[in-house]
Symmetry: C2
Subunit: 315 residues, 2 copies
């Protein structure tokens, strides 16, 4: 598999610039006082389609040849990647097909359609998903854009910490939530090149701690069906993201469900921003391990803001 370079990231950033927000970096005297750290929150919850995934999806979509673009793109993520791919394809005026279990919440299907994507339903099993997806690709010739194990996607996600460093200068540490490892891999790619002294931490729900266990074991461990409120972080590492995580991450912290919900609540209450439970995992990890971050200048990636406002985890 092709390992992307920082030169690719610079190209990706130019390519996607018209289609993404350069998201703001917020600070919070509350969280600074509480942690003793100087925290810089990179607000990808304000990103197009509501999550950093718009970066990688836009890079994949706008990097396609005209010929390939005419056949469209496809994926099988019912989360932010599906939305983002639909968004990016819509901006290019090409077709995006998202294969989703027929049991997925109607709101998620509606959201994909709202961004112009086409939903194709499968049964709620891996075998059905793979069969239906293979059929879609065979029929349409659509380009498969994996949610994270794709160099184009990682190049796109890598533009996030590029902006962060450009905007706030060098950092002692950056922390991001980890699921499949796309954002963390992008951060590794950028920081190891332009800010090699910046330590990279990942934060993961204890209930879906496969990245943590992989990191400690030295090889990929995938869980079957972890359950966590941080629903963007259930997926396992794959070879490309493992490459970056195993080479560049300093440590991975895990947090309980209660800690995640409490951190999310505090962030909404104090910073007045809507972000999803997955984003809160990074804040929870800082609150839980203040000794690691106190006195340091730390970038915190708030990964997304797509949450069901009528079903909040503390209600």
């Amino acid at each position: 598999m092709y390992i992307p370079t920082y030169e690719d990231v610079v190209v990706a950033h130019e390519r996607i610039r018209p289609y993404i927000h350069r998201t703001p970096v917020l600070t919070s005297s509350y969280f600074n006082d509480r942690t003793g750290a100087e925290l810089y929150f990179k607000c990808e919850n304000f990103q197009k389609a509501g999550a950093f995934k718009a970066r990688g999806a836009s890079n994949a979509v706008f990097g396609l040849s005209e010929e390939q673009a005419a056949k469209g793109v496809a994926t099988h993520s019912s989360g932010n990647h599906g939305l983002s791919l639909s968004y990016a394809a819509g901006r290019r005026g090409i077709k995006a097909t998202v294969v989703m279990p027929r049991t997925a919440p109607e709101a998620k299907k509606e959201a994909v359609r709202g961004y112009g994507g086409t939903v194709v339903e499968c049964e709620p099993s891996t075998s059905s998903r793979e069969a239906v997806f293979a059929e879609v690709v065979a029929e349409s010739g659509a380009d498969f854009v994996h949610p994270y194990n794709d160099p184009r996607v990682i190049q796109g996600q890598a533009t996030c910490s590029k902006e962060l460093i450009e905007d706030v200068g060098e950092l002692d540490a950056v922390i991001a939530p980890i699921g499949g490892g796309g954002m963390v891999s992008g951060s590794c790619l950028t920081l190891s090149n332009i800010a090699p002294n910046t330590r990279i931490y990942a934060a993961e729900p204890k209930n879906a701690d496969d990245a943590y266990r992989s990191f400690k074991a030295g090889h990929i461990i995938a869980d079957d069906a972890p359950q966590t409120v941080a629903d963007g972080l259930k997926v396992p590492l794959k070879d490309l993201t493992w490459h970056f995580v195993s080479n560049h991450v300093t440590d991975i912290f895990t947090t309980t469900e209660e800690e995640i919900v409490e951190a999310m609540y505090l962030c909404w209450q104090r910073m007045k921003i809507v972000m999803e439970p997955s984003s809160a995992v990074a804040i929870a990890a800082i609150l839980k391990n203040p000794e690691v971050f106190a006195g340091k200048k730390v970038g915190v990636i708030l990964t997304g803001g797509n949450v069901d406002l009528k079903k909040l985890p503390w209600a």
Copy 2:
């Protein structure tokens, strides 16, 4: 009563700069597409103490002589002004006393104490409030900072649209929610001086439409005890705010409770920001009167973000 001038606003801005956030201005392609307007949201929900009121309170507190400051400040607002006055007094290291009905939610009392203010309870009646407040002032010599009918407070609120114009250039219109009229008066004061072609609109809950009726009647009409989800907007105009509103406001729009909650929901969902129902009134007014705003460059003041996350109006 002293009518503040724009020179006062410039002085106020210098005075309060160290104690307030220069809040960001956000845009939303969703709301632009939906309204046909070019909207610039001035995010005072990100302000210190969670609302624009920190501007006026800081100006009042930091403008006090040493002698007066030593005696502290006092008010009888149980809402954002009480919080903001406590915040500002805390920054100066002086005492803030907030008289509140003993029946006020414990969370509001805790919030005032959280910012370092002292809560003094009264019975839930105007006569008790006035008696207790008079006692507090007589005993302490504290300076009474009215939530809006005070030149120092209006000078402070006026710095909000000053920043807005500095950051985005001239606007065709600015719209803000109206309760007692402090923010609208401040906007009038600034815009009539530095952007005299900018039309100033106010938005009010239909259930608390005393400013609307005052505006149409040509004199102040005060309601007894209006009920609305936009709880920051229940108070009536007073002489100083009436001066600005009657001289500089182009029109006042009213919105129903359902329209307010719908606008608030949309703003949280699409812009990923936490703001209070009072702020949503301005957005609701734009959605309801698109013909007034389409094709225009419009500033929208999002006044605050203090809301009970466990009791959302759509839950």
